[in-house]
């Protein structure tokens, strides 16, 4: 606490000194021992300039008056005090300098702490007096680790920046930031505009810590939520011990909140958390926001967008080009339009140099964005007024109004024009020369007269480092050029003779006159007369080679929809209908779908306005429901603790997983995306419909039943971990005690909560209490009979039931007990022998459980198998002789029952959701293909449409490859072909 208080007072002290500086001068109260006091009270005026006061206000022939690092006046007709130094900027423009609000300027990166091979994982914190999780680092004070970096400051100034907001880019909560003017002449006393400018957050763990939790995106999200709750509880004085992290967090909560999302979906995730706690984050994006622009707009956030565009892939080798996903090629193609799309949708954004490999690319990329439609006013706002607004500093920086910091740029024209030159970048009234504007630009073609001979002389390149080409007739001569302090020196070599030419350049003349020393020692006069520029040069520059931009799809990857599917009224004529109801399998039957529901089932139904689909010889069934999958999850395991009830898969659905589409191609319409099995109490599930093209939140069932994954056996006891570990439990014995402990604590928690006394809200306990209150159901990953039996007994002790036992490969051994308990079983059709606990797994399991009277389902837990669950159901006909009608229910109605959604889906019944599949053949046959997969009356998969998609993908790939070849042939830099891969997720996958 002491150190914290000290730091706070230190900060306060700094703010005060800063204020005093701006009011007077820095040296006002400092003793002076090396001479006399030399207070400068002069003004500087920049006259005759085009002054862009703000992106929306321009003064022609204006004057900017500054003193003591601030703007004292600006206008076209202002009074200039007598003690003013005048700088005539005739023909020049003055812009407010740029601001980067997402920088790590002057703050060294944290050295990554990685667990060495064989080292036990660190589950608990090593810190004392701070929050329990080391990735929450609200106490990080950027100023403590700040070292002004003059070299970087110069680079930033050269790119047009005057002020940056910097912070330690490390951890989930990253502490505060500091606002720094890039004034390399001054000291921190001048430069620091704010030492508490914002609080920074992200979903990324700290590289300074090896603490395991969180291992997942959803874990990071849950952790952040709990921090908000704990900070609130702490602020109310309910925690006796000191927590310096929470104390800092409580103070920082009053600052601007900047969230590094780094991805369009993470932006939505961050905003969701903010909404929950009444915080509107400013969100740092990635550059792909255009792909979800409607959703991005709905966040109402201001964005900070990096301006880093991918290079074209080198596709010159067709075998290698095949490896690049269309989505990555498309991203190359579309990325330059991101900013214009955001601007057109009125989404406020500022720009950052973050993620740029070289600052030199900043201007180039910005010009590219403008070429691809970004409005210049918006561009300037994004670099000046909006960053100032984000930081609440509009009264100090971002415009050139009276009283503002004297941070401005001097150019010779439109700052976003590639031909314009940036001459000076003034920061806090300090001049920084980027290009000497007094240097005359010699560029152009000249006629050189020397010693009675005529030469063609051409200057190209930068004004102060010109390059010269000298030709006599058409012969190019050797030579060199120097240009310093207004003196031009040329050496040319003609027929072996070296001639030295010198000239003092006159700023008001296009002719050059000087002396030349010939090889024979003779000195003669020479002159060069500028030729009028030809129109051809201009034309070349105008002709920008803009590529065609590919339209986006939903999602923006291969097989995405150009237009999201619309609800249709459909009449299936003459189908074999597998009702899953008492009617059984109906031959030659019609089914009408209307308003997203099954409207009628019968014969000779009249079509009305419905689109008729001839289903003669085909089979119509309810859509397949996969009770156990990890498809479409960004992460599946929060393995950092033995219980992770606080996390939910709903937080991290990956709606762009191509396996969603492939599953539709296998007739799957609903699935439960489960947490993995890395710990006994896993995380909450997402029960979704496969609405390809929608974002995760739209896929989740409305009023979704609440589920959570539990797990038992080899995975939770970490039996195949390569290292020793200290996480309890390490045996099945421990699992029982661990579960009992958590349920007991949840019971006690719930009792306190219900008693009405104040309590510390704990997300994990809230979830477990829901289980005790029978509001949330358990799907438990389980294999051997001992553990299955144990889990049911633990549940019974706490007076609830296990809803579903998943995997449940030895369910057949305890089917009677499961039946008595009331648990359902969701199992593999024929998997076994992949690990020790499935040694006794048999493909007859489903049939035995079913025969005993258990609600039985067949699930996948595998993204490949998921898309042919119809075949897996068929295996129960082979193994154990289940009737075809019942076997079909194993992948439709029964999982619907297990998931408590059988009132909406799972059978063909009037009033249920129109989630149906039309099969080309008997649906249990290995020969059957899903011809149409329909969810709520919308056709999400259609064999015919799929055929078109294939052609479109091929055409688009070819076009993009052609564009990239052009890019390469045009000399643009390329990147090696690369295939981005999403990791295949199973129960035991730990990533992140």
């Amino acid at each position: 606490m002491k150190s914290k208080l000290y730091r706070l007072s230190f900060r306060l002290f700094f703010c005060l000194t800063f204020l005093s500086f701006t009011a007077l001068t820095a040296q006002e109260y400092f003793p002076k021992n090396d001479g006399v006091k030399t207070k400068n009270t002069n003004y500087t005026a920049f006259t005759n300039a085009t002054i862009i006061v703000s992106p929306t206000q321009t003064i022609k022939k204006g004057t900017l008056l500054i003193k003591d690092g601030k703007i004292t006046n600006v206008g076209s007709n202002i009074t200039i005090p007598k003690n003013t130094i005048n700088i005539n900027l005739e023909g020049k423009s003055i812009y407010p300098s740029f601001i980067d609000v997402y920088s790590n300027f002057g703050i060294a990166e944290t050295k990554s702490q990685r667990r060495s091979f064989g080292q036990a994982p660190q589950y608990d914190t090593n810190r004392k007096g701070y929050y329990w999780n080391e990735h929450i680092r609200a106490e990080t004070n950027a100023l403590d680790v700040f070292n002004y970096d003059s070299k970087k400051a110069e680079e930033l100034r050269n790119a047009g920046f005057g002020v940056v907001n910097t912070h330690m880019q490390d951890g989930i909560v990253r502490g505060n930031g500091i606002l720094v003017a890039l004034n390399s002449e001054g000291s921190n006393a001048d430069r620091l505009l704010d030492v508490n400018s914002a609080q920074y957050l992200s979903f990324n763990k700290s590289s300074a810590s090896k603490q395991v939790y969180p291992t997942s995106l959803m874990g990071a999200m849950a952790l952040l939520r709990q921090v908000y709750i704990d900070a609130d509880w702490y602020a109310k004085g309910n925690i006796d011990t000191k927590d310096l992290t929470l104390e800092a967090f409580i103070i920082n909560k009053n600052l601007k909140q900047i969230f590094y999302a780094g991805d369009k979906h993470n932006a939505l995730r961050a905003d969701k958390i903010g909404d929950q706690f009444g915080v509107q984050y400013t969100i740092v994006g990635q550059g792909n926001e255009y792909q979800l622009v409607d959703e991005i707009k709905k966040t109402n956030a201001t964005y900070i967008i990096p301006i880093n565009f991918p290079k074209a892939y080198d596709v010159s080798n067709p075998y290698q080009a095949d490896y690049i996903n269309l989505e990555d090629m498309r991203y190359w193609n579309q990325a330059p339009t991101n900013l214009s799309v955001l601007a057109k949708n009125n989404i406020p954004f500022s720009l950052t140099t973050h993620s740029l490999k070289s600052l030199k690319d900043f201007t180039k990329n910005l010009q590219k964005a403008i070429d691809y439609g970004l409005d210049k006013t918006k561009a300037l706002e994004a670099l000046t007024t909006i960053p100032a607004q984000i930081l609440g500093k509009s009264n100090q920086i971002g415009t050139l109004s009276k009283g503002m910091q004297a941070n401005f740029l001097i150019t010779d024209g439109d700052i976003f024009d590639a031909k314009s030159k940036l001459y000076e970048n003034w920061v806090q009234g300090t001049k920084n020369v980027i290009k000497d504007m007094s240097v005359k630009d010699l560029s152009g073609n000249y006629t050189l007269n020397l010693d009675e001979k005529t030469y063609d002389l051409t200057f190209t390149g930068e004004a102060n480092t010109p390059k010269a080409t000298i030709k006599r007739d058409t012969i190019k001569l050797k030579g060199s050029v120097t240009y310093n302090d207004n003196w031009l020196g040329l050496i040319l070599s003609d027929k072996g003779d070296n001639i030295q030419l010198n000239a003092r350049i006159q700023s008001d003349s296009d002719s050059i006159n000087g002396n030349a020393q010939l090889a024979n020692g003779k000195t003669v006069n020479w002159s060069a007369i500028k030729k009028p520029s030809t129109s051809k040069d201009k034309k070349d520059k105008k002709d920008k080679n803009l590529r065609d931009i590919m339209p986006i799809t939903f999602p923006n990857i291969g097989y995405g929809f150009s237009e999201k599917p619309k609800e249709e009224t459909l009449l299936f004529k003459n189908a074999t209908v597998w009702t899953n109801e008492n009617e059984g399998i109906l031959e030659n039957t019609d089914v009408l779908i209307k308003n997203g529901k099954i409207a009628k089932v019968g014969t000779n139904l009249s079509a009305g306005s419905a689109k008729v689909i001839d289903a003669t010889g085909k089979h119509l069934t309810a859509g397949i429901i996969d009770e156990h999958t990890h498809v479409a999850a960004q992460s599946v395991n929060e393995a950092g603790q033995n219980s992770s009830a606080e996390v939910t898969i709903e937080d991290n659905i990956d709606s762009e997983d191509i396996n969603i589409y492939r599953n539709l191609g296998g007739g799957v319409t609903s699935m439960q995306i489960l947490h993995g099995s890395a710990n006994p109490i896993g995380g909450r599930s997402a029960i979704v419909k496969l609405k390809w093209g929608e974002i995760g939140d739209e896929m989740i069932y409305t009023n979704s039943p609440k589920f959570i994954k539990f797990a038992l056996g080899e995975n939770v006891k970490q039996s195949r971990y390569p290292t020793t570990t200290n996480r309890f439990p390490q045996s099945r014995m421990g699992v029982e005690q661990m579960l009992t402990d958590y349920f007991q604590r949840a019971k006690e928690y719930d009792a306190v909560k219900k008693s009405g006394t104040p309590f510390r809200k704990d997300i994990e306990m809230e979830v477990l209490a829901e289980i005790l209150n029978k509001e949330r159901f358990i799907t438990a990953h389980s294999y051997v009979q001992s553990e299955i039996n144990m889990l049911m007994k633990v549940a019974e002790k706490f007076n609830f039931n296990i809803n579903t036992l998943t995997h449940i490969l030895e369910g057949y051994k305890v089917a009677d007990k499961m039946k008595a308990h009331g648990a359902g079983g969701s199992t593999f059709s024929d998997w076994w022998s992949y690990k020790y606990e499935v040694n006794d797994a048999i493909p007859y399991n489903a049939s035995i459980m079913h025969n005993v009277g258990i609600v039985t389902a067949i699930n996948s837990d595998d993204r490949e198998m998921s898309r042919r669950l119809n075949q897996e159901a068929a295996k129960t006909v082979k193994y154990g002789g289940v009737s075809e009608e019942e076997a079909w229910k194993f992948v439709t109605l029964n999982p619907a029952k297990l998931l408590h959604i059988d009132d909406r889906v799972g059978s063909i019944k009037v009033g249920k959701d129109a989630d149906v599949v039309l099969w080309t053949d008997h649906p249990l046959s290995v020969y059957a293909k899903a011809e149409k997969t329909i969810i709520e009356g919308k056709v999400y998969f259609d064999l015919e449409k799929d055929k078109n998609q294939r052609l479109k993908i091929q055409t688009e790939r070819n076009e993009l490859i052609n564009m990239m070849l052009n890019e390469k042939n045009g000399g643009a830099p390329t990147q090696a072909p690369k295939k981005s891969v999403k990791k295949e997720l199973h129960c035991d996958t730990i990533n992140y």
Partner: protein, 431 residues
């Protein structure tokens, strides 16, 4: 302490294995058997409806239509049923591992990189519980293949009802398995590499290493020295045609390189295994009559933009192009999944391949590719009576129901560890 733990663990393991005895291998065929009335699926694309199949001393002595053939010996009435040649699983690790996650139970790979002399056959566990689970699905033969390294070793073909590996052997040391270098490599995060798949910079070097080895072997053949070199010795059969070179390769460039290379090296018989992009290399495969053992049909496309059903369809594309195609199944959980071989073939029928042609992918074609077609793979007079009777279409899971299965005329038990547990617990609940 750790050692004691390990001993206890291994004892426990052995004990568990002994708890459930394996099915006893069948005795030699002692009487003439005739199957009457079934639809005979020959395995060469043909069928005989209402057939008569007679076999004696393990060999098929007659196969024809009921109307034209005399019946003899023990008659099995198979009216309305189907008879198939035993399915053949090439490129398999059956019997080389029991439980994937228990390291002590797995013997599928050896260290050394280029080790053609390492032989899978002697590690083949004829009593594996996984092996016995093949028979009720009609999988009766397999090529036992080592995994890993550049040249993983030498495979052998076995039948799946035997007392021991010697007894099981059908074709000893049939070929050498070469894992062709991947022209792409995956960035390894733990070595600080950027994740994602990028062109493999070492590809050329890796190909050169194989080349140097084979040149070494050819040169060694000419030597009169008496000192033996086991890896070279094991490779000699590649040049006289007594051993096949099975090249595991997927990418089009790799396949073209592999074929060109092996022809340059004078390798007589080459088979491509995997072949995900073999459809892009039809010309060179046809030119050199190179067969392909296509990867597991029930798998995901390799690339996001590939057709969702591409792996289902690939064998058809190659068959239609006139290439000799068989199916293989290597990959995750490959041993236990081997019993799904018939359904991998069935999957291709859904893509429009004729059912009998699909059957060839796991019978006649595979026998030709493995070099055992003289005795196995089709139902023809003079060939081994390795066949089974199914209640229905054996390529479709609903109807793959075996009543009888024979290897070399021996009547197999169709019981397994799994059927015993099924019966035990079904009985428990029916009481």
């Amino acid at each position: 302490m750790k050692i004691i733990k390990n001993i206890v663990a291994s004892l426990l393991f052995v004990f568990t294995i002994q708890l459930t005895a394996q099915q006893t291998p069948a005795d030699k065929q002692s009487e003439v058997i005739t199957i009457v009335g079934a639809t005979a699926h020959i395995g060469n694309g043909e069928i005989i409806e209402n057939s008569v199949i007679t076999f004696e001393n393990g060999k098929i002595t007659a196969i024809d239509n009921v109307a034209t053939t005399n019946t003899s010996g023990k008659i099995i009435d198979a009216k309305g049923k189907h008879v198939y040649p035993g399915f053949i699983m090439p490129n398999s690790t059956l019997g080389l591992g029991e439980i994937d996650a228990v390291k002590a139970s797995v013997d599928q790979s050896e260290i050394g990189g280029v080790i053609p002399h390492v032989r899978s056959l002697i590690a083949y566990n004829a009593e594996s519980k996984v092996v016995e689970s093949m028979r009720p699905n009609g999988v009766l033969l397999a090529q036992i293949t080592p995994r890993g390294g550049r040249i993983s070793g030498t495979s052998s073909v076995v039948q799946l009802d035997a007392w021991n590996w010697e007894d099981a052997a059908v074709k000893v040391d049939d070929g050498i398995h070469l894992n062709w270098p991947n022209s792409f490599s995956n960035g390894r995060r733990r070595f600080g590499e950027e994740p994602g798949i990028k062109p493999n910079k070492d590809y050329g070097k890796q190909v050169e290493e194989i080349k140097q080895f084979l040149i070494g072997a050819k040169t060694y053949k000419l030597s009169s020295e008496s000192i033996k070199n086991l890896p070279y010795e094991a490779s000699l059969g590649l040049f006289d045609g007594s051993k096949k070179l099975y090249i595991h390769a997927d990418n089009a460039r790799e396949i073209i390189d592999a074929v060109t290379f092996s022809k340059e090296m004078g390798v007589k018989n080459v088979v491509i295994i995997g072949g995900y992009e073999a459809n892009k290399t039809i010309d060179i495969l046809k030119k050199h009559s190179i067969p392909v053992l296509v990867q597991r049909t029930q798998s995901l496309p390799n690339h996001n933009d590939d057709n969702y059903d591409f792996p289902y369809k690939l064998p058809k594309l190659l068959t239609d192009a006139g290439i000799l195609v068989g199916l293989e199944n290597s990959g995750s959980m490959e041993r236990m999944n081997s019993r799904n071989l018939p359904f991998y073939a069935g999957q291709v029928v859904g893509q429009g391949l004729d059912k009998e042609k699909a059957l060839q992918l796991i019978t006649g074609n595979t026998a030709k590719i493995l070099g055992i077609a003289k005795d196995y793979g089709t139902l023809e007079v003079g060939k081994s009576a390795t066949l089974f009777i199914s209640e229905g279409d054996a390529l479709d899971m609903r109807t793959n129901q075996l009543s009888h299965a024979y290897i070399d005329g021996r009547l197999l038990s169709l019981e397994t560890h799994q059927t015993e547990l099924w019966k035990r617990y079904s009985n428990k609940y029916s009481k």
